[in-house]
């Protein structure tokens, strides 16, 4: 219905093409202000986003410096942290063997444990979530169990895990697994249960087999929920690994912090905390970005 209107508009510039010089002059004249107009608001929004956090951080650092500068204060001020832990801040990649490594290596060791435990939790969690989302029987059977187990604090699993695996490494991985799996299971199950009946009807009319239904309807339809669970899961994993490593020892950011405390290197602890925070933030954003990419288009039906 809109086609004839479009055609009319197209035919009129064809007539104007008899004066090409005017058009050529017009183009660059238009472009220049357009570029400047694009950059200025971009800079403005960037400034509006960046200035407030810088101001707040500067104020907090100043406050911290003033509060902790008094002689005999329990915690060091920022200036003395930079002074005393400069080696740690400046050289995250050094490695002198044993536990004497830069923070990068400690973080990496922790991330490896999280990667293994979290991947297992993601696969098992989505699988179990689909099961209890799809089957009422499985939901009734497993849900009470899950509801109780998920409230057990991560570290409470560690002694049992150590007893079962007789080694710190798999025990820590198990703690990550058991911490991350609950939100993944529960969110996946909710997502599966919320798949609109319409999509199920479409699948029924098309006679999709269970595998096709799982891949083509279930996973995409439940993806927003699944990624919410995965995002909560990665946050909890990162919380749990620090605590678990404090207890199991070895290379890892958790034990590094504990070791620093035992050596009364408070400055090192604070530097390590920055690293932990930034890493956790990056992990969260990574999962969120993957989720946003995978679920593009699904939000608006």
């Amino acid at each position: 219905m809109s086609m004839p209107a479009l055609k009319l508009e197209k035919s009129s510039p064809a007539k104007m093409a008899q004066a090409p010089a005017a058009q050529v002059v017009k183009m660059p004249a238009r472009k220049r202000p357009a570029l400047a107009e694009k950059i200025v608001p971009l800079l403005k929004t960037a400034a509006a986003n960046i200035v407030p956090p810088i101001v707040v951080i500067a104020l907090l650092l100043g406050l911290w410096q003033i509060l902790c500068s008094a002689p005999g204060s329990a915690l060091p001020p920022p200036s003395s942290i930079i002074q005393n832990s400069w080696e740690l801040i400046a050289h995250p990649f050094y490695d002198r063997g044993g536990l004497d490594k830069g923070l990068f290596w400690h973080i990496l060791a922790s991330l490896q444990r999280v990667a293994v435990g979290y991947s297992l939790a993601a696969v098992a969690g989505v699988g179990l979530g689909v099961l209890i989302g799809q089957s009422t029987w499985a939901m009734r059977g497993l849900d009470p169990l899950f509801q109780v187990l998920r409230t057990v604090p991560p570290l409470a699993w560690l002694p049992l895990s150590l007893a079962a695996f007789r080694d710190g490494q798999p025990a820590a991985v198990f703690v990550i697994f058991i911490t991350a799996i609950w939100p993944i299971i529960i969110n996946t199950a909710v997502g599966i249960r919320n798949i609109p009946q319409d999509y199920r009807n479409v699948a029924a009319v098309l006679r999709l087999n269970p595998i096709e239904f799982f891949l083509k309807i279930m996973i995409p339809a439940a993806a927003p929920y699944i990624f919410t669970g995965l995002r909560i899961g990665i946050g909890l994993s990162w919380l749990a690994i620090i605590a678990a490593e404090m207890l199991i020892g070895g290379v890892g950011i958790g034990f590094f912090i504990w070791d620093a405390w035992n050596s009364s290197l408070i400055g090192d602890i604070i530097v390590a905390l920055f690293y932990v925070g930034i890493t956790g933030f990056i992990l969260d954003r990574m999962i969120a970005a993957v989720g946003a990419f995978v679920t593009r288009g699904t939000a608006a039906a």
Binding site: D198, Y199, V205, L206, P220, T295, A301
Partner: protein, 264 residues
């Protein structure tokens, strides 16, 4: 041999605990090949339930559906449904939504290139070829419904089931889609069963109009033959006495003899 699509003494009772509601009672209907039949009735009379039974999405308590000589009791692409709310998968493009159906139905019988062409052909049939790479959220309600129709047509169904397909659209868009459906019906000669609550739509599109009584225990109250020659032109029908008479008959059935009293 009998009718192409036969609804044979369909009874439907919903049971929840000890309470049971009889929705449909002894619904019998014969539809010939290439016929366009509309089912009209007040909301809640069970007409959507009836369509779901034909589609196989709900099973009848007693009675059954016979299509082309075979009883059907589970959903399948031979009875493609155009759902009221389009039911396109939002994570797939317009093309992929139709392609999913084409791939599923013709995976064994047609090559990849043939399936591609068939998908585009059906999108062109509903004038949606230009938007094939858009996602459902990027197109209007009328366009979504067109894609829904393309998806159903692409399955080459024996009977096309339309569940209030234009109910959620504005009047102008609805008219455009009705014209499209009439054109497709004229070209392809599909057998169509449509649920509607729009009297004009029923008279304009159908060969026969099946009027349902109010539920519970709804049954076929009357069947009206619409003896208007095709192709039908919306504007010419406004003053056509046959059209007006048919319209009056349906209105009288709905508003005199079987007024909807419960709510409204």
């Amino acid at each position: 041999m009998g009718a192409y699509l036969k609804l044979d003494h369909i009874d439907k009772t919903f049971t929840r605990g000890s309470a049971s509601t009889n929705v449909l009672k002894e619904v019998t209907l014969d539809i010939d090949k290439g016929e366009y039949v509309s089912i009209i009735g007040h909301s809640g009379c069970g007409k959507s339930t009836l369509l779901n039974i034909v589609a196989g999405l709900t099973s009848a308590t007693t009675g059954g559906v016979i299509l082309d000589g075979r009883e059907v009791n589970s959903p399948g692409p031979d009875r493609a449904v155009v759902f009221q709310n389009h039911s396109l998968l939002p994570w797939l493009t317009v093309y992929d939504n139709v392609r999913l159906a084409v791939d599923k139905v013709f995976s064994g019988t047609r090559s990849r290139a043939e399936r591609h062409d068939w998908t585009l052909h059906n999108l062109d049939l509903v004038q949606m070829g230009h938007a094939k790479d858009k996602r459902p959220s990027e197109i209007s309600g009328g366009m979504k419904q067109r894609v829904g129709i393309a998806r159903a047509l692409a399955m080459e169904p024996k009977v096309l089931l339309l569940d209030e397909p234009f109910g959620a659209l504005d009047a102008l868009t609805r008219a455009h889609l009705q014209d499209s459906v009439m054109q497709i019906h004229a070209t392809l000669g599909n057998t169509i069963l449509m649920i509607t609550h729009d009297v004009d739509e029923a008279v304009l599109l159908s060969d026969r109009i099946v009027m349902m009584t109010n539920g519970p225990s709804a049954y076929v109250g009357e069947v009206l033959e619409v003896n208007l020659t095709r192709p039908r032109k919306r504007l010419e029908l406004v003053t056509n006495p046959t059209y007006l008479k048919a319209r009056e008959a349906v209105l009288k059935f709905l508003h005199e003899r079987h007024r909807f009293v419960e709510a409204a």
